[in-house]
């Protein structure tokens, strides 16, 4: 079944000029994602970190993105309003070059989930607690890129391979089971 042609994109807009570096967002994020909820506070487990350098007046709230097992091969250095920012200040990857977005005890990566929960929050927790409006939340509708439907021959090539690997009976049984679940 094709996905709907529109999707909702959740965005947290960051105004780095408004950030005071208070880290209320880190506190609240770690509280919200604690189990049980709010039972512990630990900014090291936050999925948003303030990249702060008080001496050079750098304050960048940064949201945890995907895990990557390798460091990048090189980095941009951005010059913005006369101040230098490393590309790392804008990169949300959980990567080996720093300890952001890594669960401190297990070493597992942490990723921002926009505080999806039941019932849903009006805004992600970090945005709710930002007292200076450095973080604001926007939901935006966006066109989804439509994937081309695969041609019949392409599916058969895949099935042939599975039959070779597991035999026709196992594949047929799996397909029937899958069809039953999906159509239920």
């Amino acid at each position: 079944m094709a996905l709907p042609s529109k999707k909702i994109v959740k965005e947290i807009k960051v105004d780095i000029e408004k950030c005071t570096g208070c880290r209320a967002c880190e506190m609240a994020c770690s509280a919200f994602h604690a189990t049980p909820r709010y039972s512990t506070i630990n900014p090291a487990k936050s999925r948003i970190r303030i990249v702060a350098d008080e001496i050079r007046d750098e304050y960048v709230p940064l949201r945890a993105a995907d895990y990557t097992p390798s460091e990048c091969t090189g980095r941009h250095v951005y010059l913005i309003n006369g101040k230098e920012y490393s590309e790392c200040s804008f990169c949300g990857a959980s990567c080996p070059s720093r300890d952001y977005f890594v669960e401190p005890d297990s070493g597992l990566p942490l990723k921002c989930d926009m505080c999806e929960s039941v019932p849903p929050l009006a805004e992600p927790m970090c945005v709710q607690v930002c007292g200076t409006d450095a973080l604001t939340y926007v939901e935006r509708e966006e066109d989804r890129e439509q994937k081309v439907q695969p041609k019949r021959g392409q599916i058969e090539v895949g099935l042939e391979y599975l039959v070779q690997q597991y035999g026709i009976d196992a594949v047929a049984e799996s397909l029937n089971e899958l069809a039953r679940v999906k159509k239920a």
């Binding site: 709010y38 512990t40 506070i41 630990n42 990249v51 401190p104 007292g131 200076t132």
Partner: protein
């Protein structure tokens, strides 16, 4: 399981190089909360009465507040306590920022440092990994520069550093401890320097547990939002460009001269331009939505942050304008000196030169202009060179070392500590008591809940009390309604007002909350986010302890009385409790002494200001009474007790 606190102290002996993680007794938390309360207990028990502040036996304690690391907004003021060589009493110092919460996330409620390192070291804490490391490469480095270098050395930008600059290294009495753009003043940097401890770098990635998680989070978020939206909290001086109050009313030079019509629109316009042309941003402290600190990037000088009256002290002492403060504050921050005391010391030296008590020979090569002289003397003091070696001992001690009449120029100290440069006309009874009996060495550390002045009309007073949530007792509303003339208020009411003012500071400094959202701010509007009516609930939700207003009030009384006992043990007596003689032009010695006696009695102290056994026992401080009796400070037949509400201590 411990909630809100970690349950561990970090004990460091710099002489032996030992590091211990020591579990604490939760029953003590119930009695003393944390922060300054616990520190007072430790100082009372562990530092013998005659200990020289420069002895290795003196302790330097960095404490978190009980609510640090919890969702409680603006709970971030780290408390530093030790014994001061300037006052020979307990030093009380606070700094904002991120250090305290980080220490808690590392797993410690406080660091207790004794001994002296053979040479400069720094303490490196990363959770359970704690090391005393060589810091010779940091000798002479600026305070924030040290923080920056340690972040690079440890390859961790999230490390929080508290460091001394050159002034602390050279045991200057006015030395501060600096953390980013926050500063711990009032005489603690000197002991950090004496212990040869250049810095503490801390990084923590552990949990702080909350006893009643969902309720605590909700209550704190409500306060957080109220703080963000309210004009009744935070430092309004960070954005109010009209600073006529300090400039027209406070004294310039060596706390000497008032210039009543100094402020003008033209001046305000020029100063505002200087500020906004050089301000990078306003910053806040951990988990607080207020933007109290202005960060200034002045050409050719280190970037610095200032708060409150801190931007005025240097140029007012030097009879100059704001640009001079902006020029010198970054330099002073890197050297690590108290921006309240230091300008007074410099102005005092220049007065002595003018009076001929010091001569040009004492100031070789000093420029002729005020600007140049302040920079010259700052350099001499932080290096302890020439006359700077004497001035580095603070006004009071320098005056005695210089002699030859210099003592008369030491006119603005109480308990040998430099006071705010305020010289007024008629005695204000509440301020008399606060300056006389305060043991936090500055009026800013005791005043703050009850307004400084009455409101002119009954309607305005009514409007004020109607929204006054912070009163611990309805009687204060009545007092305010009936208050018309500043000095026209009964002594009994004055005692109660001073006690409430003091209570809020003692609570703040034990739970770690900031005075700008609590103890200091109510006097300017009343609508503070933290007060006696909601703090008990927050403590209970965070810690799981039973807590209510009566228990919290008793806890304040206990901590306050213990601090008094700590200082009494070191010789504090009635004779020391005098505001500067010229603080008010019109004085009445007989009335002042009567009022002081009434206040002592109100507090449950004897005529010398020493807590009686009865008072001490009522506050579960029997061991203090025993020791004061053993030392012959208290005789067993003393009577009198605190006339305040009492309750059971908090239970775990």
């Amino acid at each position: 399981m411990r909630y809100a606190e970690t349950g561990f102290n970090l004990e460091i002996d710099l002489s032996r190089g030992s590091i211990e993680k020591v579990q604490t007794d939760p029953r003590e938390t119930a009695l003393y909360l944390g922060g300054q309360g616990m520190a007072a207990k430790i100082l009372f028990e562990r530092v013998p009465a005659g200990t020289d502040p420069f002895s290795p036996d003196n302790l330097l304690i960095f404490s978190t507040g009980l609510l640090h690391g919890t969702p409680a907004p603006a709970a971030n003021r780290t408390v530093v306590n030790t014994f001061s060589p300037q006052t020979n009493l307990m030093s009380h110092s606070l700094f904002g920022g991120f250090f305290g919460p980080e220490l808690k996330y590392a797993g410690y409620d406080r660091i207790i440092i004794r001994g002296k390192a053979p040479d400069l070291v720094y303490l490196c804490i990363h959770n359970d990994k704690v090391e005393i490391r060589d810091a010779k490469h940091l000798r002479g480095k600026g305070s924030t520069e040290t923080g920056d270098l340690l972040k690079k050395e440890l390859k961790d930008q999230k490390v929080q550093v508290a460091a001394i600059g050159l002034a602390g290294e050279n045991r200057v009495y006015m030395a501060s401890i600096e953390h980013n753009h926050a500063s711990a003043a009032r005489g603690v940097g000197v002991i950090m320097g004496d212990k040869r401890l250049k810095a503490i770098a801390v990084r923590g990635t552990r949990e702080v547990n909350i006893a009643k998680p969902a309720e605590m989070f909700q209550v704190c978020q409500d306060i957080h939002q109220k703080m963000a939206a309210s004009n009744d909290c935070g430092d309004w001086m960070a954005t109010d460009e009209d600073d006529s109050f300090h400039h027209n009313h406070f004294a310039w030079g060596n706390a000497r001269t008032r210039i009543k019509n100094y402020w003008s629109d033209e001046l305000q316009e020029r100063w505002t331009r200087w500020k906004y042309e050089h301000m990078d941003r306003q910053t806040g402290c951990y988990n607080c939505p207020k933007k109290c600190r202005n960060v200034i990037n002045w050409p050719g000088k280190p970037r610095f942050g200032y708060k409150c009256f801190g931007k005025d002290t240097y140029h007012m002492a030097a009879f100059l304008e704001l640009d001079f403060s902006y020029e010198i504050l970054g330099v002073a921050q890197e050297y690590g000196v108290d921006s309240y005391a230091t300008p007074q010391v410099i102005a005092f030296a220049l007065e002595l030169l003018e009076a001929g008590i010091l001569t040009d020979k004492d100031f070789p090569g000093m420029p002729a202009d005020s600007r140049g002289r302040f920079f010259y003397l700052l350099e001499k003091i932080v290096r302890r060179e020439g006359i700077g070696d004497i001035l580095a001992n603070s006004v009071s001690h320098a005056a005695r070392l210089i002699g030859n009449g210099a003592e008369a120029f030491d006119h603005n100290t109480t308990k040998k500590f430099e006071q705010l440069p305020i010289k007024l006309g008629k005695l204000n009874p509440a301020y008399f008591l606060m300056i006389a009996t305060g043991e936090k060495m500055s009026i800013t550390q005791i005043e703050g809940s009850f307004p400084q002045d009455p409101l002119p009309t009954p309607e305005e007073r009514k409007a004020f009390v109607d929204k006054w949530e912070a009163v611990p007792d309805e009687k204060f509303k009545k007092y305010f309604m009936e208050w018309v003339k500043r000095s026209d208020i009964s002594d009994e009411r004055t005692c109660e007002i001073v006690d409430w003012n003091e209570a809020m500071h003692y609570i703040d400094d034990s739970i770690g909350t900031c005075g700008f959202v609590s103890s200091f701010r109510g006097q300017f509007g009343g609508g503070v986010p933290y007060h006696m009516n909601n703090i008990p609930q927050i403590i209970a939700l965070a810690t799981g302890m039973e807590m209510d207003k009566a228990r919290l009030w008793k806890t304040f009384q206990r901590i306050r009385t213990l601090v008094r006992a700590v200082n009494v043990k070191r010789g504090l007596r009635r004779k020391d409790e005098r505001p500067p003689e010229d603080h008010w032009a019109v004085r009445d010695e007989k009335y002042e002494q009567e009022l002081l006696s009434k206040y002592y009695a109100f507090k449950g102290w004897n005529e010398q200001g020493i807590p009686t056994r009865q008072t001490l026992e009522l506050l579960d401080l029997d061991y203090v009474a025993d020791e004061l009796e053993e030392d012959g400070i208290l005789s067993a037949d003393e009577t009198g007790s605190a006339a305040q509400p009492v309750a059971e201590p908090a239970k775990i």
